[in-house]
Structures are given as structure tokens and as C-alpha cells.
Symmetry: C2
């Protein structure tokens, strides 16, 4: 029985990735061993770690001469403080844009290390839009943004125009579209939305930006520790990296990031059109900032919430209950969500309307 997984994260992965991961959790190739019990120094696992890294370079079309690619632990939540601990000196300034829970947390952690300022925020409208047109001082060490907000369903369509390097939490829309890397000093992304299972965070670091480190930090918190040892200074989270590698293989096989962007826009249009058409529902995010990854919508009549969730469940739709900060519904339609999954949800919305209007 096919279930359509709309969870915000940990989230849907391609079916063939999960099948392959399952097979190799029993035995990796014909090694006689499960990938779960293999040394990270074995030739088989070393090849997996290598391919994971090279897939990142290839998918984003970036060069190892200019960027370091790391697979670390601790999630984006650890990158909130680690980015500032490494790159925001006590007397240095950084700008933060507050687009909801995650950027609020990033700002809080940075404030302990240097002069962090919130340059713009969309809190006034329950974070339903991406701030624009604010001033960005040119002497900032970096500008921190969250490219996509899972809770409020907003997403940067264009990144800020500035010469200040961007530090970007890209956890929930990494690999969903091509990127102009020249704007970014540091990108980090917890795997468990669009890349792999929970337990690994991808970091892409511009070498020029990285050279301007602001203080000495404990060995494990120093990006350069992991750069020097190719993410294997200590035992890396082998299985989460392995599954992420498989997802990147799948991305390459399916046309790479340009194809993903096209597909994601199609899927997003499908459901946003229905939200706008259907007399029972309305979207929460400002139209121009609507996320292609997390689609948030409400019923005009909240009393019908449980009835709609029951119809979703009957159609094998899982994980569409909205976050408590917004209420209603949230459909997370990451790369791995097939178009028919979105169509199934749209069909349920249509039939719900026909029953209740």
C-alpha cells in the first residue's frame, strides 16, 4: 500500500534510495558485511564518503579549489552557534534576517559571540513573508538568512543583493534548485528534509570566507579540523552519509537540480492553484514568497479540520497536520514527493469541497 509522506522532516526519500539502503544494511555489495558494521577506514566505506562529496560538487557545479564540502554531526542547530563561534569575532558584526523559528534561534546563538543585529524580520505578520528592501551595512562579516522556512512556508526566490557573504541555513530546500554560489560564504543543511535520514548536516564552505576565522575553538568545533581530515577526523555518521549519497545519485539520474527545480515548481503550482481555487481553503504565506517545499494552508472553517484530516488518512496521506505556530495544514513536497502524491492531496481537497459546500 503506497502512503504519501508529507512530513516536514525527517521526510520522504526516494523509494529506490530506501530500497538500496535497506539491502546494504543487510550486506554491502558482496562484502559479507553490513554497512552498519563496517569501518569508516575500509575501502568500501571510504569510496562511499568520497562519492558523497564529489556528488555535491557535481550537482552544484562548484569546484573543490574554491569550496570545501563537509559532512558533520549535530544538525543545523549546531551550525547556529558553530558558524558564529568560528566567524563572528567579539568585535565583529553580522546581520540576521528573522523569518521565523530557525533564524530566531540562529540569531540567539550568534549574539553570545559577537555583534549580531537583526536587520529585518517578518514577525509582525506571523512570519508569512520574506522581508525585502532593508539596508545591509557593507562592513558586516556576514549576513545570515534561512532560505526556506518549514513552519511558515516561506522561501527566498531571490537572495539579497549584497557584497556581504551570505551564511545560509538551507536545511529545507537544499538541492531543490540550482544556486549562484558566488553569494555564499557558508551553507549548511541538516539532511533530514531533502537529502537523507536524520544524523548528518552538510556544510559547504567558501575557502576565502573560511580563511577569515575569528577565534580559536575546541578541535571538533573548528571547521578546519574537518576540512583537513576530509570529514573523517573522528568516526563520521556513515549510514546517514551513505543514504544522502544515494539520494544525490538519484538526483543526478533524474536530471540534476535544474530538472528538480522544474518539477518542484510544477508540484507547488498544482497545490497552490487548488488552495486559491477551492472555496474552503486559503494559503497563509504571501503569494510571492510561497515555498516550493512546504505548503501551508488553512480552512476558513476550522471546525472542519478533523474531517479533512480523516479524508487525507483515508487516501493514505500522512503528515499534513500543520505546525502549532500556524495551525491548519502543511504539505511538505520535497524532491522525493512524486507528482501523483500532490495530485492525490489535491483530489482530496476537491472532493472535500464537493461534500462540504
Amino acid at each position: 500500500m503506497t502512503k504519501y509522506n508529507f512530513y516536514a522532516g525527517p521526510a520522504i526519500l526516494p523509494k529506490e534510495v530506501m530500497a538500496e539502503a535497506s539491502k546494504n544494511a543487510l550486506e554491502l555489495g558482496d562484502s559479507g558485511l553490513s554497512i552498519l558494521e563496517m569501518s569508516h577506514r575500509s575501502k568500501e566505506v571510504a569510496a562511499i564518503l568520497d562519492e558523497a562529496k564529489s556528488n555535491v560538487y557535481e550537482l552544484f557545479d562548484i569546484s573543490p579549489e574554491k569550496y570545501d564540502v563537509l559532512f558533520l554531526q549535530g544538525g543545523a542547530s549546531s551550525q547556529f552557534f558553530m558558524s558564529a563561534m568560528n566567524f563572528l569575532g567579539t568585535e565583529e558584526s553580522a546581520g540576521y534576517v528573522d523569518t521565523g523559528a530557525w533564524s530566531t534561534k540562529a540569531f540567539k546563538e550568534a549574539s553570545a559571540f559577537g555583534k549580531a543585529t537583526t536587520l529585518a524580520a517578518s514577525k509582525d505578520k506571523n512570519y508569512n513573508y520574506i522581508p525585502k528592501g532593508y539596508e545591509i551595512p557593507s562592513d558586516l562579516k556576514y549576513l545570515h538568512i534561512t532560505s526556506n522556512n518549514t513552519i511558515f512556508g516561506t522561501q527566498y526566490k531571490d537572495f539579497p543583493e549584497t557584497t556581504v557573504p551570505l551564511v545560509c541555513d538551507m536545511s529545507s530546500d537544499i538541492f531543490s534548485r540550482p544556486l549562484d554560489f558566488s553569494k555564499f560564504g557558508l551553507i549548511y543543511a541538516g539532511a533530514q528534509k531533502n537529502l537523507g535520514p536524520a544524523g548528518v548536516v552538510l556544510v559547504i564552505l567558501d575557502k576565502e570566507f573560511a580563511a577569515k576565522q575569528s577565534r580559536d575553538v575546541p578541535t571538533m568545533l573548528d571547521y578546519q579540523t574537518h576540512v583537513k581530515k576530509d570529514s573523517a577526523f573522528n568516526t563520521p555518521p556513515v549510514f546517514p552519509i551513505y543514504v544522502s549519497m544515494l539520494t544525490m545519485r538519484w538526483l543526478k539520474k533524474n536530471g540534476g537540480l535544474a530538472a528538480m527545480a522544474t518539477r518542484n515548481t510544477e508540484k507547488a503550482n498544482l497545490i497552490y492553484s487548488e488552495i486559491d481555487r477551492n472555496s474552503l481553503f486559503y494559503g497563509t504565506a504571501a503569494t510571492e514568497d510561497r515555498s516550493d517545499m512546504n505548503v501551508c494552508f488553512l480552512l476558513h472553517d476550522e471546525a472542519k479540520t478533523d474531517a479533512f484530516l480523516a479524508d487525507c488518512a483515508a487516501a493514505n496521506i500522512i503528515g499534513v497536520k500543520g505546525h502549532r505556530s500556524v495551525g491548519g495544514f502543511r504539505a511538505s513536497i520535497y524532491n522525493a514527493m512524486p507528482k501523483e502524491g500532490v495530485q492525490t492531496l489535491v483530489d482530496v481537497m476537491k472532493s472535500f469541497e464537493s461534500k462540504h459546500v
Copy 2:
């Protein structure tokens, strides 16, 4: 074809654990979803995280009133600095016992935070013994030890007699024997030796010890952040925790830690007896400190090394090449290594002797 996995870590796990993990990576029970794509807030995953925690309490026979059990990321390598960052104030003192690479690293990280002193070391004999009889000042905040050294094959059979709380890196022998918990303030253990795949570190924290926190630290580095949110402040590494939970189920089914200790001693005796008997080999660790987990041994004639490794490979034995710091061979015989695996290695040693003497 059965292979005997003697890797030091990531390392062998029980066959039935890997089979169950593989199955649920395809579909968790009859949920219609893989465990790899399920929200950590789903009822299924919440139940797994709960069981992982309660298994730790049950196996060690400790109480949730007295101890907090956490599943964190970043490995023991992150605990090296995190333990000191939380519990060693600038003016406070801690003692470290240097039994090799891991304790050396722990000491280095702690030195950045407070007055860390190496009270004893076995470096004079390439770490082939556990120091004993040194003085432990009674005003130390804690005494840090490494219960088992994977590289040099040494293990504490008795823990130091002191009223100072022990902070212990137990990565490579956790769950190998019952423990008197009253001595410990903090125990940490990377999963990838005796518990699960790489990607999670188990932390057991005495509440009384934890109450004496020394400084404010970033949110993710504060043990209390994770205590308050039951290891789910941020997205936990679901799959590594899940496999660890399965291993703990297996431990319970197989008689718990007392039964493991008996079995581990039997296995260790089997191979150490052969090392002592066989005219070609000799052990590197002091007899009374020999590890029941990692058995290090050398050939009197180093020139025969490749020939012995070839015989091991022919008998489906994997991962017995020694660490470069010691050379020779290392057989890691964690809980999941069956007695017949050790017997197979012993048989190879015997037949090697018959061919070469």
C-alpha cells in the same frame, strides 16, 4: 558466506539486529513508511526513542530519578570538550589519566577550559598498561579516565578508588559488563563499537554531578538542553538510535550484562591463551590489564605478517590488522562477536604455527 568482523569500530553488530534494521529501513512495521523517512515526532519513532532510553536504565539497573540518559551527536570526540566546557570552570581542577590516544585528546580539550592535570600516564611503555597507585587530590571536580583503549588493548578491571566523581569515556566497552554506577558522574560512549552504527553517542549523567555546571555554553552544548527535551531538542539521529535500541533488546534477551561479562571473559581467555601458548605470537598489553574487547598481539617474526593476514582472509576473518601505533594484529571481540568467530581465529593461529615452526 559468514565473515568474521574483527574491526575495532565501526564494528560487528548482532546479525539479527542488522536483519531487523534492514527490514525496517524498507518499512517500519506496517506503517507504510521506512524508518528513514519518519518524523521524530511520529508515535512510532517516539516509542523507539523511549525504548532506547528505558533499555539503558534497565540494562544498567539504574534509576531515572538519579541518572539522565541522553543520545547525542558528535561522537566521544565531542564529549572530550563538552564534558570540560560544562563541568570544568576556569578556576576548577580536574585529573586526567593518560592511557593512550583517546585520553590524550580528552586532556587537550579540557586544558582550554580549566586546570586539567595528568595525574598518571602509561606513555613510558607505549601505553601497554593501566596506571595504578597514583594520588588523586580530593578537591578535583572530576577524574577523567578511558575505561578501555581500543588501540593498545588495555582495560580497567577495577576503577580508581576515590570519592572524586569519575568522568569516563566508555566508548569501547560499554555494555560489556555490569558497573557500579555510584563512582561515575558522567559516562559517554560513541555507539560504533559495542552498541550501534556510527552517528550517536550515549551519555549517562548523574543528576547530582550535573547540577554543578561551571559555565554558560551554547544551547546545543548544554547537557541540560537535551535533558529537558529528552534528547529531542533538535532532530535526533533516529536510525543510529534505533539500531542501538535493537542491540539493547538483543542484550536483554541474551541475559543482560552479567551474561555478557561471562561470555566476553570466555572469548578473551580463548584467544589470550592461544597467544600465550603459540610460539610465533606474543601479546602487547600487560597481562593484568588485557582488554576483553580489543586483543593486540604481534608476531616475533614481523616478516610473516602478510602471510598471517592472508591465512586470516582465507578463513573469512576481516579487520585484524593492528593499529599503526602498535603494529601487528588486533582482534576486536565485542559483545556481538560469537565464540566461533574467536575459535576460527585461534584455529588459524594454530595452523599458522604448524606451517611455520
